[in-house]
Amino acid sequence: MSLTDTEGHIAQEPDYLGAGHSVRSWLLTTDHKRIGILYLVTLVFFFLVGGAAATAVRLELATPPGDLVSPDTYNRLFTLHGVIMVWFFLVPAVPSTLGNFLLPLAIGARDMAFPKLNLASWYINLAGGMLALAALLLGGVDTGWTFYTPYSSLYSNSYVTLAALGVFVAGFSTIATGLNFIVTVHTQRCEGLTWMRLPLFVWALYATSVVIVLATPALAIALMMVVLERVFGLGLFDPAQGGDPILFQHIFWFYSHPAVYIMILPGFGVVSEVLTCFSRRKIFGYEAMVFAILGISIFGFFVWGHHMFVSGQSATASLVFSLLSFLIAIPSAIKVFNWSATLYGGHITFEASMLYALGFVGLFTLGGLTGLFLASVPIDVHVHDTYFVVAHFHYIMVGGMVSAFFAGLHFWWPKISGRMYSELWARLAALLMFVGFNFTFFPQFILGYMGMPRRYHSYPPEFEMWNVLSSAGAVILAVAYLMPFVYFGVSVLRGPRAGDNPWQARGLEWQTASPPPRENFGRLPTVTGGPYDYHAQGEEPHAREGDVTFPGRSDSERR
């Protein structure tokens, strides 16, 4: 359904970007695409804030003594980094930006089920973010992103209440988005799009939304309890009043373990779309992939105790949580193998988003395997609360999730902006990010194994070398993260027109103009087969037509 003229320009009613240029037309929009862009703007802002804090942390750790900032400042820096990155970057990253933009397009709908709620959730997110930032500007929070009691509730002299309220408020935004996604997937699918024909990206967003709606209230309760104890001295966690400090950990991890899947599941979806498109293959084992996603989201609710092996929980409880944590690795492993097998027999090209997606598979594998170390009780006893854990979750959340986010951003950028970017620079950034990432975080596994505790402002000299390496890697990583700002900026200003479907991808979102019109589609599409029909059953995949050598580089410098 190409609505472009011979030169590839859109010859049609204004697209969503052209449908009003006033600030008001953006701030009061109910168009899911514009809301996605609004989220992208705030997301980038929070990413920069969180990244700046991380830079300061790595600078401090470049030398053993705590010489750059005071201990209290250091504690505020890593807390700021964690709070912002977890709740204001990772959780909303894919769902609220790419998900918002693409979900209706990918299921052949004109908008979300509740467009106004969608806009409201952006404002709620913003309000939460502002509260958290206010806590930061007033003097910061020093509890770590985990807000452990009784430190947070009785001892910390920082703006815990304000920050907790910020996260609490932002939680409502994610819940609203989650509900919206669930209802949208249930009610807005176009004709012929049955459940088992949904792209995995949609499945992943759906599963994420369910987890969000079920888990986030637990976080709200945990934070509310902290605030009540701080403000009214309620004694829920204060042993002197008969409270139990460990209770907080149970409630917090009942949310926060599922939350790690809130952060990674959307990445699974993105990577499945990208890998299939650039290897011109059907996804290997579609059903297994769907059930793995659902399995992970359900079993993710029963493993929280693996964060508490040394907190004093009973040995029996630890063993049960250990077993369940080992079992949850099975669906994750299935996904990794299925992604690898998808490449088999393909016609693979290595565009930037494909590089990110391949990097994702590798880094996620390493992150998941180290999860097995942590799931076994005796090993966790040693490496719990050391840099090993820090490395583990960065492999999954930065190596995995952030790679997936970039894979998706590069993949759908032509759809979102209508323009191409420099493939050469993009691929360079992807490679640099991979190298810089491993350089930064692999040494932290060794530090953790050697016994360096996390959240240390200064450290003994035997840890120096690996910390220096890690800080050096962070420089590379920072450069790699800044590169996309340049080439995406150039792309917006003078990138060549992308055309409707530059990658010749098969998803419904590619069957409309780039950028899509306000109503997404002229006539709504009808679906007659499964997703990823890059080749007929049993047949070999078609190569992508035209230049296999990267559009957007050779002939792209002209407009």
């Binding site: 020093d142 001892y155 097998a341 594998t365 070398m465 070999e540 992508r544």
Partner: protein
Amino acid sequence: MIWSIAPEQASTQAEAFDRIFAMMTGFSLFVVALVGALIFVFSLLFRAKRGTPRRSVKALQNRQIEVFWTAVTAFFAIFFFWYTSTASLDAIEAPAGAMEYHVEAKQWMWKTRHPSGARELNAMHVPVGRPVTVFLNSQDVIHSFYVPAFRIKQDVVPGRTSTVWFEATKPGTYRLFCAEFCGTDHAKMTGRVVAMAPGDYARWLETRAEGETLAATGARLFVSAGCAGCHEEGSDVHAPSLAGLFGREIPLADGRQVTADADYLRDSILLPGRDIAAGYEPIMPNFSGMLEDGEVEALVAYIRTLSEEEASR
């Protein structure tokens, strides 16, 4: 700069740990290599630039393959669970006759008390080859007692007594860290554990001024704080005798049954209204405002010795 890559291995647990860790690392390297090789080889073989027609390629949409690798991963998951848990089960209980060390954690220091009563700040002295149980209490927030060379870690939670044990195998001085974030000087809340050959240890012990043991402090407190007034034999208040209490099953007034462990004793002193022993009136006063930090632990230690005397009688 120091080029070290592994922590010292200085306890019995460390040996078991290193075996498991090495095995898991080997397995992980294998899986990473496998996935890496799959991606690399497929990327090379099936890259579009190569342009070879691939009619010969068999379709891979194969249930058997999926069942195969699901079964293989399930096997490894359960195998590793079994393999690692047996090691952790072995390490739960300290062997009988372990030496008892008491450690109080507070922002940002470790106050230790040797079984002989000798007190130190941020340091412990133990003999090699003898199991040591550490009784841990916190006076404020959660801390975590972590000795990397021994591969042991235990959170120190306020309001309860946690224990952890180790047996040093190699003389040396090892770092003690606080591993749970506890505020401003968390990174400075470090100390050392000195493990000594038996001869050296005996010499060290002689040079120490014998302090009062924790139980002796407790015995003194038992009288001065007024516990004895009700709990001493021959008192005319109807209160249970505490001899032989520790470790027994106690029926409660509300029908429950609890074991009189350290946490129970602690709660009985600080929150006497919570668990009332069957057959007694809830008349015991609340001591939480009267006892100073550390005094509760002393009383608990004293009550434990009462049971030991009972048993040896």
